[in-house]
Point group: C2
Chain length 343, copies 2
């Protein structure tokens, strides 16, 4: 079944169903909007949110050499180990929500771990090149990273997932995400450049200079060669997530989108595979100032506005029980007729 066929349920039919349930019409507010999105993404009035799977894509970024981050690249590898060890926020929230978690190293400089269902070594390189000085990756590398994401979505399908989440770990990755935001939302570097995981004023100013210059280089390529334009400024994990999202949409999954980095990946996915966004629910609007602009560009209304800025898929994991509740409302509530109440 294609994504289009699955999405043939129209909003009026979904709303009519919601208005027959034993509650004043519209009285569950935003949860009813979530229910509509969920039914629409699955083309069903019996939407499912289980099993669900979180793929966290990790990579390092050459642009860290340009002094744009509060933390050194070594932290990427330490956090990969922490995620695998169960001590990271993403590990804890995935456990809480019965979400399977798989860490896919698509290009970090840290040591590899033993293969398992929870870990895959799919390194394209040990890091991107420094996008402050030239292209972050080659077009071949971009396609290879995208293909890793495609494979991960197919793997999720084989393992039975119905709803998928993506997360990321990569010190420095708000810089490529900001560049992609400038490139694909036609936004200014000032709007898209924020403090990431804690940049101070000097670092932020340096980061803005890098984003301004690199996104201008990419913009010059966009019309004639959009893949080269994205390769100029992207990160391996961002491109892998784009492949994951595009394929998840094609396979008819509901996609719960996380924060700034993953939304940059959503922009890439929508650019390469238009219509992907119709399978997306935005979990939250983060503290990173450009995130709202990206969500607006995609037409996504976030569920939480909680100033989250951690990444790893944590915002999507936090919002997941709200999507579960929307699904339960649609599936399990009695109708007015069931309850003998005249409307």
């Amino acid at each position: 079944m294609t994504a289009n066929a699955r999405s043939s349920l129209d909003d009026a039919t979904i709303k009519a169903h919601l208005n027959n349930l034993t509650k004043p019409p519209g009285s569950l507010g935003k949860l009813e909007d979530v229910a509509i999105s969920l039914c629409r993404t699955q083309g069903s009035l019996a939407p499912r949110t289980r099993p669900r799977h979180l793929a966290i894509f990790a990579a390092d970024h050459g642009v860290v050499q340009a002094g744009v981050t509060a933390w050194p690249s070594e932290v990427t590898g330490l956090m990969i180990a922490n995620i695998l060890g169960g001590g990271a926020a993403s590990s804890v929230f995935a456990h809480q929500t019965d979400t399977t978690l798989r860490l896919v190293d698509v290009g970090s400089g840290s040591p590899t771990h033993a293969p398992s269902d929870g870990y895959r070594d799919a390194k394209i390189a040990e890091s991107t090149a420094n996008l402050a000085e030239g292209a972050a990756m080659t077009v071949d590398q971009l396609e290879a990273a995208f293909a890793v994401g495609v494979e991960e979505a197919e793997w999720a399908a084989i393992s039975g997932a119905r709803l998928v989440l993506a997360g990321e770990m990569g010190i420095g990755n708000t810089t490529p995400a900001a560049c992609l935001g400038v490139l694909l939302c036609d936004a200014s570097p000032e709007v898209m450049t924020g403090r990431g995981a804690g940049a101070d004023d000097v670092t932020l100013s340096r980061k803005l200079g890098v984003v301004t210059q690199a996104s201008a280089r990419a913009a010059a390529l966009l019309k004639d060669d959009p893949t080269a334009a994205m390769a100029e400024v992207a990160g391996f994990e961002i491109i892998a997530i784009a492949g994951f999202y595009a394929t998840a949409a094609r396979l008819g999954f509901t996609i719960l989108v996380d924060g700034f980095i993953t939304t940059a990946a959503a922009l890439v996915a929508e650019h390469r595979a238009p219509g992907t966004v119709r399978h997306m629910i935005a979990a939250h609007c983060s503290a990173e100032p450009g995130h709202r602009r990206m969500l607006d560009h995609l037409g996504l209304d976030p569920l939480l506005d909680w100033s989250l800025r951690l990444g790893e898929g944590t915002g999507a994991l936090l919002a997941l029980p709200l999507v579960d509740a929307a699904a339960a409302m649609v599936r399990d509530m009695a109708t007015f007729a069931d309850a003998g109440i005249e409307q």
Copy 2:
């Protein structure tokens, strides 16, 4: 142990603990605020959110005769049956979140059901009197309703609950809640009077007249006899919830407060047992316009702003997994030292 002793953990100690966890300090945004509230209410860095218990208090309101509602009083009884049958939003969300649910009929005009752990007949009367014409209840009735709530919190303690929620079902109950808001927040009737479960313009105008007149009568009594003032305009379920909250706080529970009606009960609880509010987390700010004013009066910052207006404890049930996540963060995340990361 008293509520005060349990609450002796100071915010600085809690924040220091959160800043040692493997995430950029503050990067979980509002979830960190929830974690601080949760630790504070339990006086512990290992807060628990299970087992959890929802008590739904139901009652009817004589003021429905004054034409202030969109639905007739019979719906209270039909919805009690629907909640007990598992088809109501509250039943569905309670099931989803492993929350035990008990419906306590504290004064409805509907038939009683067979006693069980999930149901208690504790009717004070078949309805309050019409507060548009005189006192809604006697002071003795108010004390009896409060006592039912006290017993229910004690019952929750015996059954092992660590976190409690209250909900309500009672056609017409936004009118007494609005009167209590005017009385206890020093707010205008215009701010406190909203559309409830769907009042049209004519009904809303009539409701505003009733709230204005009845709350003025109550206000005249407040200084000399606050219990009589509250009895003038309250509802049995609202007063029972106040007793439930006051006792839950005394017993050291975390209380997750739901919407407009339960927040009116929180105002009553705080008035009768000052300090109750320190055990509360506000789940959401509802579509009812006076709710924000009540929350501000109590100093509570709601987790969701989702335009919910259903009641039955549904908003608290929706927010519950977010509180679970806050607890899991505090308890289960690795520290930077664990992960070998220098801050």
